[in-house]
């Protein structure tokens, strides 16, 4: 008996030492992981001339927010950031709305086409996006010409919002329908018996119950849509209408020599999603857990 306990303790001490070592190892790598980001923040806080005169490893003579002020003034970061919000917020709301509609029908009604519907959306989410660039581009021009306004969808926020919704709604549908399956059918049954019509059943009964899943998804979706920049490169011809992540690519070419100013721009562009992640980390992770995947 006592022998066993001694051995047990020995094992536990051994394990503790090993865990300490593992933790240290992962910690060192965590530092390596975050270092490029910290370095960019550091770069953004010092003036370009400081680096030129004293070298990149010099102790900073000046630390200030001038680069940030200049990023707003010269790079017009504020405009691009606004563009990002104009595109992201409606896209997220529409995506969640449409996704919840399909999920509602598929899980609350027994139609024969339910599985096909789910497949249509989930498989659509996994298609390589490049497959759609040319036709969508031409379709937008064509629809615009049809209505006598070439910029109705092409080079317009509306078009960008539309493609984001089209591409994200599959994931939202998938996540929301698997979440909705956990909501007891009895709730729907009693709503039907009480004589609630379909719309009230959806709006007053199901939607409130979906709140946690919608919260989780909205954080995840905001991040994805905010970060996406290829569609804006394809569909927005006016630079002044581009969201910040797309604009950043052009600015990178234009301000190639002034690292420090560019660093400030990059940090400003990154901050909304980083803040969102830290403030709503729980929702963020819940979103991923619910979906378990994003193709």
């Amino acid at each position: 008996m006592s022998m066993g306990m001694v051995q047990d303790e020995k094992y536990r001490n051994n394990q503790k030492r090993k865990d300490g070592f593992i933790s240290l190892f992962i910690g060192i790598f965590a530092f390596v992981w975050i270092f490029p980001i910290l370095w960019t923040v550091f770069t953004s806080l010092r003036p370009y001339n400081d680096v030129i005169s004293y070298g990149i490893f010099s102790w900073p003579r000046h630390i200030n927010f001038n680069n940030y002020i200049n990023a707003v003034k010269e790079m017009h970061i504020g405009i691009y950031l606004t563009n990002s919000l104009i595109v992201t917020i409606p896209s997220v709301i529409l995506t969640l709305f449409f996704g919840s509609l399909i999920a509602f029908v598929v899980t609350r009604y027994q139609f024969k086409f339910n599985l096909w519907l789910l497949l249509l959306f989930t498989a659509g989410n996994m298609l390589p996006i490049v497959l759609t660039y040319i036709p969508v581009f031409w379709m937008f021009l064509w629809v615009g010409d049809l209505f006598g306004n070439r910029n109705m969808l092409y080079n317009n926020y509306a078009g960008l919002i539309l493609v984001h919704v089209g591409f994200q709604v599959g994931f939202a549908t998938f996540v929301l329908s698997s979440y909705m399956k956990t909501i007891p059918k009895e709730i729907s049954e009693s709503a039907k018996i009480d004589g609630a019509n379909v719309f009230r059943h959806y709006w007053n009964v199901i939607l409130p119950l979906l709140r946690p899943a919608l919260a989780a998804l909205s954080v995840l979706m905001s991040t994805w849509i905010y970060n996406e920049f290829f569609w804006a490169l394809v569909l927005m011809s006016d630079d002044s209408k581009r969201p910040i992540t797309s604009a950043l690519r052009r600015l990178q070419g234009q301000y190639v020599t002034d690292f420090n100013l560019l660093a400030a721009g990059a940090i400003i562009a990154a901050s909304p999603t980083v803040i969102l992640f830290f403030v709503l980390r729980k929702q963020f992770i819940a979103g991923l857990t619910l979906g378990s995947t994003k193709g």
Binding site: L117, S178, Y202
Partner: protein, 303 residues
């Protein structure tokens, strides 16, 4: 998670009023129409276009090309095989190194080692950044006058070309890609691990199983569905990888990847629909992982 309660078929259809039927049609119709018009129709159109010649300007100028675009890709076109090779290297690296590292990291963090909460956030941080930002961040590290050059004692005048050096750029690119991929896999796996019964692990630990044994004999088998999903994600991500390389180089010449070739051939200079054909090849490569994924996800519903 998935509970299927059987309701007698057609019961709800009979009890639906006219308004309800209209509402339901709108509920299904509007999102489906959007999905079909923006995704499925363009996908099919691209497949058709891959068999044509078109300069992408006037619809009247579309000519039938048969399989000529594919011939042009497969024959006398070394960049295609280079791209295949690079995608293959990418896949091998992710499968053998990045994904397993993400899984191991998740396992250690799930065990609650010291500092696990902070580590989790740090490793996940790159995943919430846009690739546009990631490109800039890593440029600061490697470009002339950047951090790595500084450490190696290279000033602006004597800078090494890191992005342009074919001997190291592959590894640098894969490293940066992993920087993002590992955190993503970690968080996915972590959410799966949370559902493994902790009593299972404790029992094994008391029996004197080593960490490695617990991981291999208990964790991996119980995580089977998540394992496959992560494998599929790794596969698909590797096949359609390109944004990072596009951000760094802007063209496929230095480090060709399939998706990059699609994008390049779309962007104006196409006298043929070669880009469309590239896109179709990419789709064909992705199709098996996609079907595998759908089969896992809809296992219960398909029955």
């Amino acid at each position: 998670m998935k509970t299927t309660v059987t309701i007698p078929k057609n019961r709800n259809r009979r009890s639906l009023s006219k308004t309800d039927r209209f509402t339901l049609s709108a509920f299904v119709g509007i999102p489906s129409l959007l999905q079909i018009i923006l995704l499925w129709v363009p996908a099919v159109v691209t497949v058709i276009l891959s068999f044509t010649y078109w300069d992408g300007i006037n619809i009247k100028d579309i000519h039938w090309a048969g399989i000529q675009n594919y011939k042009n890709i497969f024959i006398n076109n070394p960049i295609f095989y280079q791209a295949l090779k690079n995608n293959g290297i990418w896949l091998a690296f992710f499968l053998l190194i990045a994904t397993p590292l993400g899984v191991l990291l998740a396992y250690q963090i799930d065990r609650g080692i010291k500092g696990h909460a902070i580590y989790e956030s740090i490793y996940y941080l790159p995943v919430v950044l846009s690739l546009a930002v990631i490109g800039i961040i890593w440029n600061f590290m490697f470009q002339p006058g950047g951090f790595v050059q500084g450490i190696m004692g290279r000033d602006l005048a004597h800078a090494l070309s890191i992005w342009g050096n074919p001997q190291i750029n592959t590894w640098v690119i894969l490293g940066v890609a992993s920087w993002r991929h590992i955190g993503y896999i970690m968080l996915l796996y972590l959410s799966g691990l949370k559902s493994v019964d902790p009593a299972l692990k404790e029992a094994a630990a008391i029996d004197g199983a080593t960490e490695w044994q617990i991981f291999r004999k208990i964790i991996l088998p119980t995580m089977q569905p998540v394992n496959i999903i992560i494998l599929v994600i790794t596969l698909i991500e590797s096949l359609r990888a390109f944004d990072l390389v596009y951000i760094i180089y802007g063209s496929p010449t230095v480090f060709p990847l399939l998706n990059l070739l699609v994008f390049q051939n779309f962007a104006g200079q196409g006298i043929s629909m070669k880009g469309a054909a590239y896109a179709v090849i990419l789709l064909l490569l992705c199709i098996i992982p996609i079907i595998t994924y759908l089969r896992i996800v809809f296992k219960e519903d398909l029955k």
